[in-house]
Symmetry: C2
Subunit: 83 residues, 2 copies
Amino acid sequence: MKKVKVYITLKESVLDPQGQAVAGAMHHLGYQEVKDVRIGKFIELEIDSEEEIDDKIRAICEKLLANTVIENYRYEIEEGVPQ
Amino acid sequence: MKKVKVYITLKESVLDPQGQAVAGAMHHLGYQEVKDVRIGKFIELEIDSEEEIDDKIRAICEKLLANTVIENYRYEIEEGVPQ
């Protein structure tokens, strides 16, 4: 079993209204030193497969998890998760 | 300027219906080897501060970013982001 961590973030050129709203809330709470907030997704997968795992993860990310028009994705594969 | 990466995940004991829905979609696409999906948030902050930065990040996480009843958070601080 492999544990895969997927990070999905908006492309730099894409406006992040959610991040801006959170930044505004932080300023409202008194944290003026927060200059920028970008919000993304962090997805943990457990995959019971050894072959072509990179191809599978890329396909899953591109078909399902990320909107590649406006989002980037990257992933990390962790070794054997105990059964 | 410091870049902080915050990871917010549901506590182990908390059901993740969103993750289950995504897992179902993956199975539907033919990826039966995906055994579990957990969905969280990945937030990138830029903070223009040096003093007590850990205290500030913890306060921001606990007051605003994470619902500590059902979520865990962890963070990483990266050194100087070029101005």
